[in-house]
Every structure is written in C-alpha cells, then in structure tokens.
C-alpha cells in the first residue's frame, strides 16, 4: 500500500514536471528557432552565420514544388543565413500575418498583398523599408514600384500579375464575332451575340467572403479608360462621372442577362471554372491562371485582350495589377539580414527566375526573365501589359478589403433595384469609405 502511494506521488510529480517543461518549451520554441539562438551565435551584419529568418508567405504553395525552397537555399549557401519557410494558402497566410501583427509575433520576413500594407504600416507592425534601403545604400531606382504609406516604403512588389481580359474564341466565332472588342459598345454587342447561344458574356465574382471582384473585375473597366476612384488619396466616388458610367455599364450587363449566374456568391476560382468550362465568353483575370486553364482544358481556344474602353478614349489604357509583395516585420530582430534577403529576391537574376516560375512579370525593372519556354499567350499578355499603364488604386489604401466589400454591397443593392440610381449608389459607397480615410 505504502509503495503504491509513493509510486503514485512519483508518477504525479513526473507528469507535472513534463507538463511544465512542455509549457516552457512551447513558450520558447519560436525564439529558439529564429531569434534567440541567432543572437547568441552572433547575428553579425553581413556574415549572418547562425541567423535564421522566418519567411511567411503563400508563394510556396503556388510555385512549383520546392522551387521557393531552392531559391532560399541558394541564399543560405551564399550568406549562411537560414530561411525557415512558412508556406500556407493565401487566406490562411493573411489571417496568420494579421494575428502575428496583432500579437507582435509576425514572422521576420512576410509576403504581403498591397491591400494589407496601409493597415500593417499604420499599426507599426511592418518595418519602414525606406530607412533600411537607405542604411544599406540600396539603389531603389531598379524597383518597378514601391508601396508607400506617408511617403515611406513598406512593401516592395516582387512579382506582378497583370489582369487582362480572356476571350473564348470558339464561343465568339460561333456567335459570329470576328474581331475582339476594343470598346465598351463593341463588348456589349459581343455579349448580346453570345447570349443568344445561351452563353454568358462576362463574369464577376462578388462574394462577400473574398470581395476582390470589385478590384480585379469591376474597377478594371474604370482604370482601363483612364478613370480613377481616388483623388489626392481620398475617395472620389460621389459625383465621379466616369465611375458612374462604369456602374451603369455593369448594371446594363446584369439587366440584359450577360453576366454569369450566381455573381453575388461567386469567388474568383468559380469564375475561372465557368470560363474553363466554356460557359462564359469573356473574363477579366490574372495571367497567373493561364497554366491552370491550359491544364484543365487543353483544347480551350482562348486569347488575351486589353479591357475595352469607353468610346473615343485615346489615352494609355490602364491594366489592373496585383502583386506578391514583401515586407519586414517591425519585431524582426535581424532587420539587416532580412533586408539582405529582400535584396537577394529583388536582384535581377533571382527576380527574373521567380517571375518565370510564377508566370508573372518581374518587380525589378532590370530583370530579364527568359520567357522563351513560356506559353505564347503568356508572352502576348506580357506585351499587352507593357503597352498599358499598371494600376491598382486599392494597393496601399486603408482597409482595402473592407472598401471592396462595402462597394460590392452597394453595387449589389443598385443592381437589385434597392438603390434608385448609380449616383445614389456611389454617394452611399462614398459615405461608407470616408471613415477609413479620416
């Protein structure tokens, strides 16, 4: 009996000890891997031996298997700085980075979407790259763009994804359309023709879960014709004649039944699926989906065009661009090493390699990606992109996703007939946007 009691006590003590140790291990694991150890082992500038940087992004999931790891390994071989890749799908990455920003535990280097930058910068959770570039004597003229807040750079676009328009050539041919539309009127005529064959003309994903359809599909019409939704960095929705015309144009397409069904709950992948399955004649989408579409539907006969413009427009066409951006966490203890890594990714050779792997366009203007083995359609998209002005006004805007969502809701109310006019709709959207800019 006594032995049993002693044994029980020893067992209990062992369990308690194990649990306390495991808790201590939990608390210390992050630091041990990426920060504390490296500090002890000397995260010296330049050398970087023993420093491990966490790099959280969604790119690894979208690039060919192991491609990002190989690129990072080359950096480790050159500098001794280890890169711990934290790759997850886009939505998960966003939530994890937002949580990390809130708790001050963001990974050292983070993949960023332009629409997140303003909030993280204002929150003070991502580092001022202007200072880091200055400190390192970096020549930033080679960067094709920089995302700034209050005059300071917080994100550098590593690669860019253009959003041209896709056209299903077989559907158009069947409807008797010989030439790709270049103006909105021609586009409506093409939609009218294909709709007679029971095919939708265009698709727009307006799901509340992922409201990027406002950015990547709706606003592309406005930007293509040189319009803007902001003026001096503030919302310019109310009384904006070009935007009003765009709203009316999209409403007309809805009213005439040119838009693919289910738009209000559609997400971007659903739209791509509609196009891939030959149920939509046109869609505005990223070039990044080219490989997927070719793989899913090898026989699909499609082509690229720039988004049609308003009649009489003769200026440079705008093309929506999204990007894989990069930033450094403010809580990163090895900012110099982190900057070295960013500089490495932005170097012309590595940047060109990433661009080719990602089916994207480089963020370094001196990079010369070798697209010779790329699909000829991709090369055409690159040419179209170069002939247009890259634009995305949501990049760097405050609470971008919420701006898109509220605009999308007002647009749906107008389309459903709950709002009397496009002017009223834009007035309501303006009222919902203003608090974010104050």
């Amino acid at each position: 009996m006594k032995f049993k009691t002693v044994a029980k006590k020893i067992l209990s003590a062992a369990v308690v000890g194990t649990m306390v140790l495991s808790l201590a291990a939990c608390g210390g694991s992050g630091g041990g891997e990426s920060s504390d150890d490296s500090k002890d082992e000397g995260g010296s500038e330049g050398g970087g031996d023993g420093v491990t940087l966490e790099f959280q992004q969604w790119w690894g999931v979208e690039l060919p298997d192991g491609a990002l790891a190989d690129i990072c390994q080359k950096f480790t071989d050159d500098t001794g700085i280890k890169i711990d890749l934290l790759s997850n799908p886009y939505a998960d990455t966003k939530t994890q980075i937002a949580s990390g920003a809130a708790s001050g535990t963001m990974a050292d280097v983070v993949g960023l979407d332009g629409s997140w930058v303003y909030d993280f910068a204002k929150q003070g959770s991502i580092a001022n790259l202007t200072e880091l570039m200055g400190g390192a004597g970096y020549d930033d003229s080679q960067l094709s763009s920089q995302i700034q807040v209050d005059g300071n750079t917080y994100m550098i676009p590593v690669v860019n994804f253009a959003y041209p328009m896709y056209a299903n050539m077989d559907i158009l041919k069947e409807a008797g359309i010989e030439e790709l539309p270049t103006t909105r009127d021609e586009f409506l005529a093409a939609c009218e023709a294909v709709s007679k064959n029971g095919v939708a003309g265009w698709a727009i994903p307006l799901s509340s879960e992922s409201p990027s359809g406002i950015q990547n599909q709706f606003m592309t019409w406005l930007w293509a014709s040189g319009g803007a939704m902001l003026k001096d960095g503030k919302p310019n929705l109310e009384g904006n004649a070009e935007l009003e015309a765009t709203v009316e144009f999209v409403k007309e397409m809805f009213d005439k039944g040119y838009i693919a069904a289910g738009a209000n709950s559609m997400k971007e992948p659903d739209m791509v699926e509609e196009f891939t399955n030959g149920r939509v004649a046109f869609m505005t989408d990223g070039v990044s989906h080219l490989t997927t579409i070719k793989k899913e539907a090898p026989d699909l006969n499609f082509d690229y065009l720039t988004v049609p413009v308003v009649e009489g427009f003769s200026g440079t066409r705008g093309m929506d661009v999204a990007n894989w951006g990069i930033g450094i966490a403010e809580n990163c203890e090895h900012k110099d090493e982190a900057w070295q890594f960013v500089e490495y990714l932005m170097s012309p050779e590595v940047n060109a390699e990433l661009a080719v792997l990602a089916n994207a366009f480089p963020g370094n203007s001196k990079a010369e990606p070798d697209y010779s083995s790329s699909d000829e359609l991709f090369v055409k998209a690159y040419e179209l992109f170069q002939s247009c002005e890259a634009i995305n006004e949501f990049t760097g805007a405050p609470t971008s996703e919420d701006l898109m969502r509220s605009f999308g809701e007002e647009l749906q109310l107008y389309i459903d007939g709950d709002t009397a006019s496009a002017a009223d709709m834009l007035k309501a959207a303006q009222e919902r946007w203003m608090p974010a800019f104050e």
């Binding site: 966003k94 809130a102 209000n264 709950s265 609470t399 969502r405 459903d416």
Partner: protein, 292 residues
Amino acid sequence: MTKGKKFITPYLYLLPTIILMCILLIVPIVMVIGYSFYDNVIINKNPVFVGLENYSKVLSDPVFFVAIKNTLFFVLISIVAHFLIGMLFAMLLNTRYLGVMTKGIFRVIYALPWMFTASVIAIVWRMMLNPNGVLNYLMTNMGLISEKVEWLASRDVALASVTLINIWSGYPFYMISILAGLQGISTDLYEASALDGANAVQTFFRITIPQLKPILISLLMLDFVWTLQQFALIWMTTGGGPVNATETISTYIYKQGFSKYQYSMASAGAVILLIVCTIIGIFYVRQQKAGD
C-alpha cells in the same frame, strides 16, 4: 501529514490543469474583455479606456441587429431540424425490423456528413448549389423550377440555403447520441407498456422521450452554443453575403477584426456572444448536476 500539507495536496494535483486553463482559457478571455473597454487596441499603440462605448457602438449598428436576427433564424431552425432528423434516423436504426448488416450500412451512410470538415462540406455544397449545379439540374428536370435558382447568391434564399447545409452537417451528432440513448432504454418498459395496451405514439411520448430527456436537453444546449458560434461554414459558403443576407454574429465579429481591423469592436461583439453562451452553459451545468 500536517494540516497545511493536507490542504495544499489536492491543489498541487490540480496545478497542471489550472496552469493550462489559465494560459489557454482565462488569459485570452480576460484580454478580450479588457480590449472591449478600450478604443482601437492593437492598431492604436496607446489605447484609451472608453468604458462601454464599444458596446454602445456595436449595439447601435444596424448590421449587428441583422446579424442577431439571422443568427436566431440559423440557430433555431438548425437545432429543431437536427433534433427531428436525428431522432427519426436514430429510431430507424434502432428498429428491430432491420437486420444487423442493413443497420450497420445505414449507420455509416447517415453518419457520413459528420465525418467531413467544414471546408469540404462548403466546397461540396457550393458545387451542388451552383446555378449550374446538380440541384438546379434535378429540379429543372423534375419540373419543380422553371429557371435557375441562385441558392447562395440570392438574398431571398441564401440564409435558408446555408441553414440547410448546417442541418445536413450537424444531424448525425444527434442521431448517434439518441441512438446510444435508445439502446440504453430497458425493453421491460416497452413490454410493460404493450401489456397496458399503449399504442406506438403513446409509447414514444410516455417512455422514449422521458427516458431520453437528459440526453436531449444536453444535446439541445450544446447544439445551441455550437451553432451560435458557427463560422467556418457560413464564411466559406457566402461570407455573410449577399449584402448581409447571411451575416451572423460570428461573421460580423470576424469582419470587424480581420477586415476593418477594429479589434475593440470585435472584442465587444465577442463578449456579447460570450455572455449568451455562458448563460446557456450555466443551464447546461445545472441540468447535468440535476441529472447526477
């Protein structure tokens, strides 16, 4: 053993659990409650105590009231349907008119929805409820509808569609629990009732239901709390849209936090939800104690 040692010993045994509960439960809850009394925490480096202002803002937000209305519809319809379907299937599986093999096969089939994760359920149902999906195809061919219904994209039917998905995914929990309860009811009771001349309906209401009462009350309370907090399914199917048509308290809180970056407002909304869940939790514990 001294008196002090005797007093402290049980607490030492409880210490690991207490430490874990503090870290994983108490600290986050206290932090969220604390956040709800400050102006925008996290974004604002030096947040100021604002008392109940965030609660006032949340409770005066018309979208929050839409969310409450939708949540009530979603929760009440879901738990009633879960109960009815779960009871029906459990009784079918408990019948003596089916063979063991048949019962086994149907038990697996009926329980299948519970095996899927929310993301799989959302993807499957999004495909089925697509305007070009299976459901519209079948209904059109059967002559039930003349034009495609936008199940998740129409403000008129989106909430009902999402509720239907939740009913489908949640009834097996009731079915399995009730089936376990039914198998625990003594056959003596049914034999006695048969001798007394009770018919099937009387047997169901006078024997089956009273015998299952403790299980049913627990199920209803747990389901109420779980459905109230349902987020993943709604988020992945409609995201609370179109135009707030399926906005529930959980999606409202998520948008406040991760889309608007209004963490204090999100915390205030979360605390309101916590209060409701706590009230239900108290009833649940009381009921469990009474059962003991």
